[in-house]
């Protein structure tokens, strides 16, 4: 299968200037390749850098060492190189990230929150509306809530709105941070189906799944980040 993501010699540490310039090493010399149709589950205890790695691929965190190459159309884009304009385009078209928390402008309706990623890629208002309604329905967000801001929703509902926004658009690479946490069994099932469908459609998926059963059902491969843990100097 086509390789979609290539990490080479990736290293990361945090320097906390405000707290006496403490240096916190995370990992070094990390290599990872993910192909279309694969679902790679990141493993490791809390603090091993699973979320950091995922955020680095999304360029939410800087990558001080190595390369993070993402196949964007016919080109490879190095997310570590920091070309903001290009990275924004990769995020719009190619690379989706469903974080654990929903961050939205207050007072914007749920329907509009879910439509937004489509509108920014040039989908018409009418088409975006239809697609957003379909995914909200599938994730069992009651229609009476669609005109309300998700900020007032329960944790599980917010997470489903977040997932709806992530999956309303078919993107070739998806990063999923605990997509089934805080979901009831029925909605968990829906989310597992969504992820498997995306994979069957050729998406390359990298995820953190503490839910061991979900991990078994979804992942084609596990990747232990602790093997690259940097030893504190």
């Amino acid at each position: 299968m086509t390789t979609m993501v290539k990490l080479r010699n990736v290293g990361k540490s945090f320097t906390l200037h405000v707290q006496g310039s403490v240096n916190i090493p995370v990992f070094e010399n990390l290599d990872l390749e993910v192909a279309a149709g694969e679902c790679v589950a990141l493993l490791g205890p809390s603090g091993a850098g699973k979320s950091s790695l995922m955020r680095m691929i999304y360029a939410n965190y800087t990558c001080p060492a190595g390369e993070i190459l993402v196949r964007h159309g016919d080109n490879w884009v190095d997310m570590a190189a920091g070309d903001a304009h290009l990275i924004l385009d990769v995020r719009r078209q190619t690379l989706g990230y469903v974080s654990q928390f929903l961050r939205v402008i207050p007072r914007v309706s749920t329907l509009n929150v879910v439509m937004e990623p489509l509108l920014t890629t040039g989908v018409s208002e009418a088409d975006a509306n239809v697609q957003a309604q379909a995914i909200l329905q599938r994730l069992n967000i009651p229609r009476r809530l669609w005109s309300l801001s998700p900020m007032t929703f329960s944790g599980g509902e917010q997470q489903r709105v977040n997932l709806a926004r992530g999956f309303v658009q078919q993107r070739p690479i998806m990063l999923l941070d605990e997509p089934t946490a805080s979901l009831d069994p029925e909605n968990r099932r829906v989310v597992l189906d969504l992820i498997n469908e995306a994979r069957a459609n050729g998406a390359a998926i990298i995820g953190i799944f503490h839910d061991a059963d979900a991990r078994r059902q979804l992942s084609s491969r596990e990747f232990d980040t602790t093997q690259f843990t940097q030893v504190a100097a």
């Binding site: 200037h17 360029a59 939410n60 965190y61 304009h85 007072r107 914007v108």
Partner: protein, 259 residues
């Protein structure tokens, strides 16, 4: 709507007030449909930079190029004063921190919005009034107040009126100096939503000076962090806020109060 060429190209601009550095060594490119936020403490050079970018202040060195509707790149500091005025009436909007600087206090709210349309050639009175009414409701100013003078409005209402006046002509680039500073949080949210939709659907670009990092996160795609007139860090908004590198950016981010 989104183009391959930047709409604004800023090359190594600096401005000195005598010996005092206003700002120095600033370069960036802004594309259609993109919002860049400039953050930093008072006196860091944010407003000086905004004035340089919008041709309100001549740079001591460096250049600012703007790509106009005809797709020509123009040096905004080299063009004639009438050309600059035309730009300010058509392609640009400037929202001042103090609404009194951006409004005409002696004419009605409706006229404040309508005269921007008339300045670019609109003549049909009914249409102008309808658009003015439409924009007043977009920024949540009671349309029953359309014939009142802005001086009878509260500060927050004046700010919303100023924003309506600026955006009614569908500018392509908006400069905003603390646009949501004096607003109630609910109105602030409404304006953020409005700006966001203009950006994503009409491809509006904006340069926004703010010291509210929450506003910056929700509105800006990219951030420039300034200190003592220089850029100490720049990059994707979420990257600068979630993984700041420079000691000053870290201090700024770690000082936010969370609710």
């Amino acid at each position: 709507m989104r183009r391959d060429e930047p709409i604004l190209r800023v090359q190594d601009v600096a401005h000195f007030y005598g010996h005092i550095r206003g700002c120095e060594g600033v370069s960036f490119e802004l594309y259609g449909g993109e919002v860049i936020g400039i953050v930093g403490e008072s006196g860091s050079g944010k407003s000086t930079l905004l004035s340089l970018l919008s041709a309100r202040l001549a740079p001591s060195s460096g250049q600012v190029h703007f790509r106009n509707r005809l797709d020509d790149e123009i040096d905004i500091h080299a063009i004639s004063e009438p050309e600059r005025r035309l730009l300010m009436r058509t392609d640009w909007a400037f929202v001042h921190q103090n609404p009194r600087d951006g409004l005409r206090m002696g004419v009605s709210a409706g006229a404040n919005v309508g005269e921007r349309l008339m300045a670019i050639g609109h003549r049909h009175y009914g249409n102008i009034r309808n658009q003015a009414t439409d924009w007043l409701s977009k920024v949540e100013v009671d349309t029953g107040r359309i014939d009142d003078l802005p001086s009878t409005f509260s500060g927050g209402m004046q700010q919303r009126l100023q924003i309506a006046r600026n955006l009614v002509t569908q500018p392509r680039l908006a400069f905003m100096d603390e646009p949501t500073g004096g607003l109630d949080v609910s109105v602030q949210a409404r304006l953020l939503d409005l700006l966001r939709s203009l950006v994503s659907t009409l491809g509006l670009s904006a340069v926004i000076v703010t010291h509210d990092l929450a506003v910056a996160r929700l509105l800006a795609h990219r951030l420039i962090v300034m200190k003592d007139g220089r850029v100490v860090e720049s990059g994707l908004t979420d990257q600068v806020l979630d993984d700041p590198q420079h000691p000053y950016s870290q201090l700024l981010v770690s000082s936010i109060l969370r609710t």
